[in-house]
Amino acid sequence: MADFDDELDASGLNCPLPILRAKKSLTAMESGKILHIIATDPGSVKDFEAFSKQTGNSLLESREEGGKFHFLIKKS
């Protein structure tokens, strides 16, 4: 796992909460900083891809590990 600046644990939360919480965290961050998100909602894989495409915040990494989904998003 690459370095990150902030972390958001959205485990146990269902759609659309992981996206909404991620958006809130990113808003509080400076441009160029990286947010690590942990989620358990399988729908979040496609959702974070779509979120990244539509908001311009790049999705650096998306992977599954031990039943959890990890995402690295860089604030644009």
Partner: protein, 159 residues
């Protein structure tokens, strides 16, 4: 990039149907959309300070019920007194167990994200509703006000 716009008409006042307007609006706002929801008829129930929304299995053959009841339970049985509150309780519990947000939370997230909530003035008059029962920060207007925004929207939904 020009801001995209989402316009929604929310017409239903049951627990299950209260979700789509608030889920879609909060998500769209997070994606950078400008969003307005126009609440009309039973949709006005979604604006009450104290939400007391119910879900009914009555006349809803698509609703999954506990213990496979939707397969063997007589349709008329869904009209039994107390059935609605039992199903509402179970649905709320299931939602909480699965990490689905409460309506209050989603509604608050919508307001935080500056989703504009518009209550249909005609419905308020029709049902003699007391606007003191509704949350703050909403606008009261009519159909023309909806089209002002909807006419320029990229997505327009009737729920």
């Amino acid at each position: 990039m020009e801001t995209k716009k989402l316009a929604i008409i929310a017409t239903k006042g049951s627990l299950d149907w209260a979700y789509p307007p608030f889920i879609l609006s909060s998500t769209a706002a997070a994606l950078g959309y400008e969003v307005e929801i126009f609440f009309t008829f039973y949709g006005l129930q979604l604006l009450r300070k104290k939400l007391d929304l119910q879900v009914t299995p009555l006349g809803n053959p698509g609703m999954p019920m506990p213990l496979g009841m939707d397969k063997w339970f007589p349709v008329l049985g869904t009209a039994l007194p107390g059935m609605q509150s039992v199903m509402t309780m179970m649905m709320k519990k299931k939602m909480a167990d699965k990490g689905v947000a409460s309506l209050e939370e989603l509604r608050e997230l919508c307001q935080e994200a500056e989703v504009r909530l518009i209550a249909c003035q005609m419905t308020v008059d029709l049902f003699d509703m007391d606007t003191a029962d509704f949350i703050d920060g909403i606008e009261y207007a009519g159909a023309a006000r909806f089209f002002e925004f909807a006419g320029e929207s990229d997505i327009c939904l009737y729920i």
